[in-house]
């Protein structure tokens, strides 16, 4: 029970972090159809901006200013780069964001160096929030969860209950009609892209000090956020939320399972030794492959339910 409760808590909080990371990506994809390969780089940029701003103005100012900075950077990228290649279709857009991720990585290394930076959790949030069965639950994790949940609520309200959200939704399906009504559709797209990047930046501000702020951080999460978006259903915010929690919990519990095919066969009376064909594969424990499970899920999802858990896009 003790282990179950703590693992569930760990899984949910990790899942919420994943949601924070992927919400911007799924937003941009659902609104613009652009699969932004550089998304994780914006996450990294958020962490580095926040590291520098924390040194100047403190963490709370950085929490606001760093995502804004990343958002502006993203909006400029959309305005001057992405919009130009938009006419050549999605492949060109995808390739240009792919190239952008490399440029941003090198830029970050030139500005902040190749090593990790000393970006710490603020003193006010450092320490345990409560103790469960003798294991502390850090305050910062709770903060992370709260930010992720408020992000979900704010996004949902913005998109479905506000005027801006309605224009955005309308621009997605009927761009010409919206334009005829006097709205500047390209600017709406620029705002959406900037907003998505700002969300990634916010995740960076919070993830950067919870984990390690280093040039490799973008590559470390790049794969997993695509899994979240695909499993959740391309472009579905609710799906991304569900998929994040699913992956977080799945991965956390898989770590705890020390069962292998070998031990399973052993329990039904078959013996597997080093001589058995495929021993290397048979002796693998579930806990060993836990971090790979999300990718397995991705492949299975694409085979059996290509539109994802809550996806609506058919194309």
């Amino acid at each position: 029970m003790e282990f179950f409760a703590i693992s569930l808590l760990n899984g949910v909080s990790y899942g919420l972090l994943l949601f924070m990371l992927s919400s911007g990506l799924t937003l941009i994809f659902s609104m613009m159809g652009v699969l932004n390969f550089a998304h994780a780089s914006f996450y990294m940029l958020g962490a580095y901006f926040s590291y520098t701003l924390t040194g100047w103005l403190g963490f709370w100012a950085a929490l606001v200013l760093a995502p804004v900075g990343v958002g502006i950077f993203g909006a400029l990228f959309e305005r001057y780069v992405l919009r130009r290649v938009h006419q050549y279709g999605h492949v060109a857009e995808l390739l240009i964001t792919f190239g952008m991720s490399y440029i941003m990585l090198e830029l970050v290394q030139l500005v902040w160096g190749r090593s990790s930076v000393d970006y710490r959790v603020p003193a006010a949030l450092d320490g345990p929030l409560f103790t469960l069965y003798g294991t502390q639950f850090p305050m910062y994790r709770a903060f992370m969860m709260a930010v992720a949940l408020s992000m979900l609520a704010a996004l949902w309200l913005l998109l479905t209950r506000s005027r801006v959200g309605m224009v955005i939704q309308a621009a997605l399906t009927h761009p010409h009609m919206v334009e005829a009504l006097g709205h500047n559709v390209p600017r709406v797209f620029m705002l959406v892209f900037g907003g998505g990047c700002a969300l990634a930046g916010l995740a960076g501000v919070i993830g950067g000090n919870a984990f390690v702020t280093e040039p490799g951080m973008a590559a470390a999460v790049g794969g997993i956020i695509f899994v979240v978006v695909v499993v959740g259903g391309m472009g579905s915010l609710g799906g991304a939320f569900l998929a994040s929690l699913l992956i977080g919990v799945l991965q956390t519990f898989a770590v705890a399972v020390d069962v292998s095919i070998q031990s399973a066969l052993h329990s039904v009376g078959m013996s597997v030794t080093t001589e058995t064909f495929g021993y290397a594969l048979l002796k693998l424990k579930v806990s060993q492959v836990a971090p790979i499970l999300p990718y397995l899920l991705l492949v299975l999802m694409l085979i059996f339910r290509p539109k994802g858990l809550l996806g609506t896009r058919e194309d």
Partner: protein, 411 residues
């Protein structure tokens, strides 16, 4: 007048003394083959600077052989395949000494290629100085005459570490957590082997191998460690895999002593400091607060590069080469390799010897502990306000392990 005569005489004597050696004034060029770009570039860049710094400070007039050393970097991008390309480029450019350290896969590739090259190109032999690749195979079943290891291999580090842990009565249940590749697997294997001999009462209560560089959140592992009732952790993890593990441990409030290999490597101390206090031990062949010449060198390095000098193998490496060149009276790799065998030189901690049977350097080992800087140990690692304080120094014989190497010598 008297003074003038004396100085002239002194000058003349020095000239004579120096002129005895044929190699005097020559330059030994060393090719440094390691990642200089990509995710591990920070470590490679630091170590290239360390080699160049050691070459600069210990070569020339200070060298026993009176030769200069020049170290040039070749980027192998961390891959064995690229290492072979770099090696070829270096040989084509006339380098006769190569050094590499990050990754035993690359080290094995270079060692094999060097052996082949030397066999096929007599008169153009190359010597390989391995300063950090710690796979025991390199000095056992896959040992080679042209390969010399300056670091202590995993079996030696485990010998030393378990000798230290043997005297820690509170350690009774150990949890092993390692990266799932050759190094991590060897750490687990050699630890189990050594602790069973020295402290049969110590139980291994859990063992995890996780994919390298894939785990973002270590809290599930920490929950598992707590569940197991372990009272110590042994890990060969490095880089983000180590810092994230330490952070997750701190977050959960699980205060367990951790025995590690690579907490001092570039970037890790900064992340450790961000994670706060923790009982972290490092087993290595040096410590951050070394007195004497190497301490002065560390301070100078820090002033010059604002970075830490922790690859002391570069210090031993240059001094060993100097010693061998002086002994061989030549910079010819064939003669130098022969002179290196069994060579003993003075190091920063007693003497070190390049064992003849397997070309593994026999040296003192240290256990150091992560703590805030104080008067006694003032060296602030990566300017964090923390340092690695030496807890125990062990003589070379303690860490010495037998070898199965059947060295084939040329000729």
């Amino acid at each position: 007048m008297k003074f003038a005569i004396k100085s002239v005489a002194a000058c003349a004597m020095m000239t004579v003394a120096a002129g005895v050696f044929a190699q005097n004034g020559q330059t030994v060029k060393i090719a440094f083959i390691d990642p200089l770009s990509g995710p591990f570039a920070n470590v490679g860049q630091n170590q290239l600077k360390s080699w160049q710094f050691a070459a600069d400070k210990l070569g020339g007039a200070k060298s026993a052989a009176g030769v200069k050393f020049e170290v040039v970097g070749f980027d192998n991008k961390g891959s064995p395949q690229e290492s072979l390309n770099s090696l070829k480029a270096a040989i084509d450019q006339g380098f006769r000494y190569v050094t590499q350290g990050n990754g035993s896969g690359a080290a094995l590739a270079i060692s094999g290629a060097v052996a082949k090259h030397n066999e096929r190109n007599p008169g153009k032999e190359v010597v390989f100085l391995n300063y950090a690749a710690v796979d025991p195979a390199l000095t056992n079943e896959k040992c080679d005459y042209w390969h010399f290891r300056l670091d202590a291999d995993t079996s030696m580090k485990m010998e030393a570490l378990t000798s230290f842990m043997k005297d820690q009565p509170k350690v009774s249940k150990v949890y092993l957590i390692n990266q799932n590749y050759s190094h991590g697997q060897q750490v687990a294997k050699y630890f189990k082997d050594a602790i069973a001999r020295k402290r049969p009462d110590v139980k291994i209560v859990g063992e995890d191998l996780h994919p390298i560089g894939q785990v973002k959140d270590f809290s599930p592992y920490v929950a598992k460690i707590k569940q197991s009732g372990a009272n110590a952790i042994v890990t060969g993890n490095w880089g983000a895999d180590l810092t994230l593990l330490v952070k997750a441990l701190n977050d959960s409030g699980l205060k367990l002593p951790m025995y590690t290999y690579y907490a001092q490597v570039t970037g890790t101390p900064t992340a450790l400091a961000a994670g706060g206090d923790g009982e972290v031990y490092v087993i290595a062949y040096g410590s951050a607060n070394q007195p004497g010449e190497i301490g002065a060198l560390s301070n100078e390095y820090k002033k010059k590069f604002n970075d830490d000098y922790y690859t002391y193998a570069t210090y031993n490496g240059i001094n060993l080469l100097s010693g061998a060149i002086a002994k061989a009276k030549s910079i010819d790799p064939v003669k130098v390799a022969a002179a290196l065998e069994g060579l003993t030189v003075k190091s920063f901690a007693g003497e070190v010897q390049m064992r003849k049977t397997d070309h593994q350097l026999q040296q003192s080992m240290y256990v150091t502990k992560w703590q805030k800087v104080d008067k006694k140990y003032p060296y602030s690692v990566e300017n964090t306000g923390y340092t690695f304080a030496p807890i125990k120094q062990m003589d070379p014989y303690i860490a010495s392990t037998p070898t199965s190497c059947q060295m084939k010598r040329p000729g």
